[in-house]
Amino acid sequence: MDAVFEAFAGWARAGILPAVFVHPFMVRGLLGALLLGPLFGGIGTVVVARRLSFFVQAIGNAAMTGTALGLLLGEPPGSTWAGVYGFCLASALLVTFVKHRGRIPSDTVTGIFLAQTLGLGVLMVALVSKRFDIHQVEGALFGSLLTLRDADLLVLLVTTVVAAAAGAFLYNEFLLASLSPELAAARGKRPIVLEYLFVTLATAVVVAGLKLVGALLVLVMIVVPAAAAQNAARNLRQFFFASIALSTLAAVGGLLLSGYLPVPTGGAIALVSTALFYLTLAFARKHPEASR
């Protein structure tokens, strides 16, 4: 990685890149944003189509609890992977299971689970704050450029490769199963298996992006670019690529903003992302009919 940092620093000194890229943490942030943008933008289209925005928010919040849990179980600060992945994945699978077992609407199940996770999270953060620097948990909540390390980039890269492979094979099936599980079943697909697969993938993606954008704002990066893309797109192909472009633009724009101003990266990305949403409203088509 040192050669990469050196190359970027050279370009920054030569004036090709902004001067802030002499710092390795900005280069890491840029690489992270360039991976995160397409990853979140792409998966965001399925999240929005499957109406799972609230679910993604709940997973983001579960990550805060998972971070505290990891610290309590003795994981090193900044690398609470087992706590975060374990807790988020267990929560995601449990919500999906409860959703299928009962007749409670899925948003209600997610809401109940969110309340429970937050309650548990608040308790754990209180416990953790007695033993650890509270900034460790704060970083997980709001995202931080300074705490991003090479290992986090590697996690992001691996997640992006897995998500791209899943997208190449299962994108159509994820969407078809959400439009009509019966139609997907008639086509020989297994809608319930697809739902569990997607929930697992979405959880892995959310957790991979936490270091940069933070638990509270992960929803912004996944849902807002896709919502903005819906305003401008006429078909799913345009929707997919517009979402990726807007998400990447928001990630890189937010990163640059937080490089110049003393603001958390997650907050800056959220502001750029929502600004882009308002801009795309100008393209919004009128929809004469309500949802059918």
Partner: protein, 218 residues
């Protein structure tokens, strides 16, 4: 083609289907009628494997035989930029919908839509179609690839008289010319009487199998 024995299904504690037997013979158009809440859609969901049940369901289909399915509705938000061509690609193609569609694939979609008089709708958004137009698209989708078994959940609802006649003609042609077996859930008894070989009346249990329709058809 379909053999159902002792089928029971619950929704929560509510018994929606109880001890249902049903036989759909190869090549026939079998109607399934009954009031709202009679369990017709539940039976289809059991048949397609999206709902747990007790009893047995046997489908006499080879590994390459396709099932065409026309759902009663699709679940999506009106803001989703889902075009008719996109919906076709999702349903019939393995190539991800975000990749460019080949001309040949577009031509295939166009000709399938032509079967139900809907080829002009190919680039329209699904959320902007009228109830009748959506039915035509859903029906066209179920014909690709050519099915051995066609299962339709109220295909004539929201459809005007001409549209309803077109569906009848299409079902009769598929059954007679191509030997497609059809299971048709429908409220409209007049329509069932005009196209079906047999009609089964369901109200959580089998109420009656109307053989008279079979005689008229033959």
């Amino acid at each position: 083609m379909i053999s159902v024995r002792g089928l029971s299904a619950r929704r929560g504690r509510d018994v929606v289907l109880q001890d249902v037997d049903l036989d759909v013979l190869p090549g026939e158009i079998h109607g399934l009628a009954g009031p709202n809440g009679a369990g017709k859609t539940t039976l289809l969901r059991c048949l397609l494997g999206t709902l747990p049940f007790t009893g047995t369901i046997r489908l006499a289909l080879g590994p390459l035989d396709a099932i065409g399915y026309v759902p009663q509705a699709l679940a999506f938000d009106a803001s989703l930029p889902l075009s008719v061509a996109d919906f076709f690609s999702l349903s019939v193609s393995r190539k991800p919908v975000f990749r460019r569609r080949s001309r040949a694939a577009s031509a295939r979609i166009g000709s399938a839509l032509g079967e139900t008089g809907a080829s002009s709708l190919i680039n329209r958004r699904l959320s902007e179609l009228s109830g009748g137009e959506l039915r035509r698209v859903l029906l066209a989708q179920a014909l690709v690839p050519e099915p051995r078994l066609l299962v339709l959940d109220e295909p004539a609802s929201h459809v005007d008289e001409d549209g309803s006649r077109a569906i009848e003609t299409l079902l009769l042609r598929l059954s007679r010319e191509r030997g497609v077996t059809v299971l048709l859930v429908e409220h409209d008894r007049a329509l069932l009487g005009r196209v079906c070989t047999r009609v089964t009346y369901l109200n959580r249990r089998i109420v009656a199998a109307d053989e008279a329709v079979a005689e008229r058809a033959s």
